[in-house]
């Protein structure tokens, strides 16, 4: 037990783990969060638009994505994105996209469904009187949304959005299934090359744990600070 543990393998691979692996993980998390919130907000607006066709379309998309496991969605897009690229550019054959773009599209579109539900709850948490007041002042729908409703909805939902981002950060480890080198992928490559599964997986667990724990404590403190007293 722990007799032939070689902690040095971690020290030796630190640059690879963090400059290749963790950088990929962090960039993917941030871009997918940004894209997911934008598309998710648009989906939420569609669901709440009162136009049956738009609401139905967005609702169907969100429910479809939310009933599928992320692993399956990753596989879907891994094979689908080249065809989408071909269709979008009108090329002769499916376009080879890099692993990064493939998983970025996957996570953005997957998380959009979850961010949509969060933003929908956020928008619905704003009292109806505000929308009516905006309308009474002569504001158009985009103006009212952009200046009155959405800023408050965002503020109410910041803690939940950030918590979802922490979950997304952990979920990005699933890109392992299509052999992309994120932080876990890098750890796993070293582990298999040097036969050091115990050290590398324990270290990966500790790093994910430390980052997620620190982030969730930050979110909790933020929640107390920005809570609006009503």
């Amino acid at each position: 037990m722990f007799s032939n543990i070689d902690w040095d393998v971690i020290v030796r691979s630190l640059p690879y783990l963090f400059f290749d692996g963790m950088r990929f993980t962090v960039i993917l998390t941030l871009l997918a969060t940004a894209g997911g919130i934008v598309i998710g907000t648009l989906l939420a607006l569609m669901r709440l638009s009162g136009i049956p066709a738009l609401a139905l379309l967005a609702g169907a998309y969100v429910n479809l994505i939310r009933s599928m496991p992320l692993v399956l969605v990753i596989f879907w897009f891994y094979f689908l994105v080249p065809y989408i690229g071909q269709w979008a550019t009108g090329a002769e054959r499916p376009i080879q996209v890099g692993a990064f773009w493939s998983v970025l599209v996957t996570f953005t579109l997957f998380e959009a469904a979850y961010f949509c539900e969060i933003m929908r709850a956020g928008i619905q948490s704003i009292s109806h009187g505000q929308a009516q007041a905006a309308q009474a002042l002569g504001m158009t729908y985009p103006t009212a949304m952009g200046y009155i409703i959405l800023p408050q909805a965002f503020r109410n939902m910041v803690p939940v959005l950030l918590t979802q981002t922490i979950i997304l950060f952990q979920d990005t480890s699933l890109v392992y299934v299509i052999s992309v080198t994120d932080f876990l992928g890098a750890a796993s490559k070293i582990a298999q090359r040097d036969g050091r599964l115990v050290e590398m997986y324990l270290f990966a667990a500790i790093v994910y744990f430390a980052i997620s724990l620190a982030a969730s404590h930050f979110v909790r403190r933020l929640q107390h600070r920005i809570a609006i007293i009503r």
């Binding site: 979950i167 480890s173 392992y176 599964l197 115990v198 994910y208 744990f209």
Partner: protein, 249 residues
């Protein structure tokens, strides 16, 4: 699109020579459900226990419960899978480690335990929220009429708390079914893995994944309607379960 659709592929024989492709997907569905249901048992039992610990008057028990939840919530599920499957047999005494490695269906047992404990932390969070959402007068009243603390939980607090948290619990149950797909990384041939191997053998990518997607949707619909039925059966008039917006997947 330059893709050759062939929906008849489901009825063709798979390379194992005995079963057709749709039967393979069916076996995968069986493993998905078996894994999810077994893990759910662990998650409910451990989750209720830890959730109760976190609401007891003892600060040390609360701390213990909090530590448990933080541990299982802040490590990605995939990393936890690897810890159970690859790391555990190496760090226990050699005899036990060898026994673990030679176990038949090892990936199934690993997946069940890992998924069960992972989900138990999330269930514990809901159970705690459910108990705390009750008025503190309920606990006091229970104690005042002479019930012991465990009795107060058993007869007063938990019956109400579980009714309140039924909606978030049913979404945790949906999550455990979806999350069982992560077990494909340790070699469990559940539904997603079955679709993946069908794709590899037959080269019919989109048919295979469409098949799996439809099965997941059907499972989803069945679970959601079953849970709604249950909610209506156990509802106490005047108390309506509502789930606040929460992050999840």
């Amino acid at each position: 699109m330059s893709y050759n659709w062939n929906w008849g592929i489901f009825f063709q024989l798979s390379p194992d020579g005995t079963y057709t492709y749709w039967q393979l997907l069916l076996f995968g569905t069986g493993w998905t459900l078996a894994t999810a249901l077994s893990a759910w048992t662990i998650a409910l039992i451990m989750g209720s226990f830890i959730g109760v610990l976190r609401t007891t008057p003892s600060p040390w028990l609360v701390r213990l419960g909090n530590a448990y939840v933080e541990l299982f919530r802040n490590i990605p599920l995939l990393v936890q899978m690897f810890l159970w499957y690859f790391v555990l047999p190496e760090v226990v005494p050699a005899a036990i480690g060898d026994w673990l490695k030679q176990l038949s269906n090892a990936s199934f047992y690993n997946a069940v335990i890992c998924l069960g404990l992972y989900t138990s932390a999330r269930v514990a969070e809901q159970v705690k929220a459910g108990i705390l959402s009750l008025r503190s007068g309920q606990r006091m009243a229970g104690l005042a009429v002479g019930l012991t603390l465990p009795q107060t939980y058993r007869f007063v607090l938990l019956p109400m708390a579980f009714r309140i948290i039924l909606p978030p619990l049913s979404s945790e149950f949906l999550n455990i079914i979806k999350n069982s797909s992560v077990a494909l990384t340790i070699g469990l041939i559940e539904l997603t893995a079955a679709a993946r191997s069908m794709q590899e053998f037959s080269f019919q990518v989109f048919e295979a994944f469409t098949g799996a997607t439809i099965i997941y949707i059907v499972i989803n619909v069945v679970v959601v309607s079953g849970m709604q039925l249950l909610e209506r059966r156990v509802a106490v008039p005047g108390f309506i379960g509502r789930s606040p917006p929460a992050a999840g997947h």
